[in-house]
Structure formats: structure tokens, C-alpha cells
Symmetry: C2
Subunit: 159 residues, 2 copies
């Protein structure tokens, strides 16, 4: 009798990633751990396609069947709903996603010529939000804000 296939049930990994998922009320699954790891590893916002392209490089994924692209969409959407990641438009022709770190006043400068992305922190939105609410007819609370700057990087300027 050949050795039967090992059960695929996940061992209860108490990794940081698993904890992040559990704390949001998301079940800890192989696709979610993998996608979350991609976001953790990435230094800049990435698209659904880039997540899909990056997944096969993970050892966990190489060792088992690839993740269906439908699942990638659903995982990313669940992350977004739970506030694990945010959607950002860097005018790269598609939407990107990036992980939301604690105490987040984190934004981007983008080169409109070559697409280079750099982070910056502290946009001073709190006072802006106060006055915006004061002047608003309809709004009383602001929970999130996005700020992106678009310009030219040094390399592209000198071209």
C-alpha cells in the first residue's frame, strides 16, 4: 500500500500573518496567508495581477497546487473589506493595493513619466479634516484620507 497523501489541513501556525487574519475574523487559509505575505513583502502598492505573478515564488505555493485567480480576487476583496489593505490610484493604469500599517498617515509621490513611487508620511490631514467638516453641509466624520503627489523624479527631469 503506497503512503497515502498527507492531510492538507493546516497546522495551527501561530505566525504573525495568521494572527493578523484571525484578528480580523478571517479564517486562516493557505491562499490568504500567501497573499498576505506578498503584501507584507512588497515595498510599494501592487495590483491584483502583480499579486498573482508573485505568488508562485512563495515556497508554500510551490509545494502545492497553484492558487486559482478567482480566489486571489476574493482574498484581496476580503482584505480590503476588513481594512487590512487599502486601494490606491497611482495613475499606473490600474488600481493598486498596499497593506495598512498601524497609525497610518502614509502617502505617495509618483513620477508621471516613469511611474516611480516613493512613500511619504505625515500629511497633516487632521487639521484639514477639521476644517473640511466644519465647512461641509453633509459630513460629520472622516475615517480615512488619501493624498498622492504627482511630479517628476530627478532622472526623468534630466531626460
Amino acid at each position: 500500500m503506497p503512503t497515502p497523501a498527507k492531510p492538507t489541513r493546516l497546522t495551527p501556525v501561530h505566525s504573525e500573518l495568521a494572527t493578523m487574519l484571525a484578528q480580523c475574523g478571517l479564517k486562516v487559509t493557505r491562499p490568504r496567508l500567501a497573499v498576505l505575505k506578498i503584501f507584507k513583502n512588497s515595498t510599494h502598492p501592487i495590483s491584483v495581477q502583480e499579486v498573482a505573478a508573485a505568488l508562485p515564488s512563495l515556497p508554500t505555493i510551490q509545494a502545492s497546487p497553484p492558487i486559482n485567480s478567482v480566489t486571489i480576487y476574493r482574498v484581496i476583496d476580503s482584505f480590503r473589506q476588513k481594512g487590512l489593505i487599502r486601494e490606491v490610484n497611482l495613475r499606473h493604469g490600474h488600481l493598486d493595493y498596499e497593506i495598512i500599517e498601524h497609525l497610518d498617515d502614509h502617502h505617495h509621490i509618483v513620477c508621471t513619466s516613469c511611474g516611480l513611487v516613493e512613500d511619504f508620511y505625515g500629511c497633516g490631514a487632521t487639521s484639514l479634516i477639521r476644517t473640511a467638516i466644519k465647512n461641509s453641509r453633509n459630513f460629520a466624520t472622516v475615517n480615512e484620507h488619501t493624498v498622492e503627489l504627482f511630479g517628476l523624479c530627478r532622472k526623468c527631469i534630466s531626460l
Copy 2:
């Protein structure tokens, strides 16, 4: 002999819309005038689909063959390239576009529950941009910025 179809050649309308197009180096055509009028009339950013849906209401369009959807994409893209409109992400599940008015420090508050959009002006980006550039490794100029606030409108709070 039945009256022959009038030539469709445009009379040189010296309207504001035509001037805007000409000043950007875009030829003044029926589709461009129509799409630009839609943007002018709109009080909030709209999607490609909304432009397409709004076009048939214009008298100029009713009086002649409808505008092909490929043309709508191309017109909107030409407007964006020339800086007539900007792309904004209000997290409505698609990208929106709105006309760029002169001296533009114009942004939005969006209700994450019902999608309501309100404008606000003056985000104080100039000082932010200065410090962002000062702290940046790669960037020396910033030409554009986006700021969007996301919260709950009064109606949705009380639900």
C-alpha cells in the same frame, strides 16, 4: 428629388467649449464637444459609462447618429492627456473623471456607505509639497496632487 442629407461638417462655433478644445490643440469635433459639455454640466466626477449614458440626452446628439463607445474612450483619454480632465478614485468601484478648473485645489469628501460626494477646496498642499520634496530622495518637482477624504454623511450615520 428628396432633399439630400445636410453635410455634417461643423459650422465654426466659437463657443466656450470649442475654444477650450482648440486651445489644447484638439480638433473641434462633434463627439468632443458633446463629451466636454457633459463634463461641464456635471457637478461631480463621473465614469466613462456615465458619460456614455448622458450623451443621448444632448440635443446635438439626438439630432444625429449616436457616438460610438470606442470614440468615448478615445475622447476621454485625449482630454486626460491634455489636462482638461483629471482621474479621481472615489472608491465607487470604478474611476471617475472631472473637469479641471483653473487654479485647482479642489478635492472630495465621500461617504463610504452611500457614495455621496461633496467638494472641498484649499487642502494646503503647497507647504506639504515643500516638505515632501525636501525629504524625498528622488523627487524635485510636484505638479499635481490628489486629496480625498472618506467618512460617513449625516444621513448614513443616523441609520
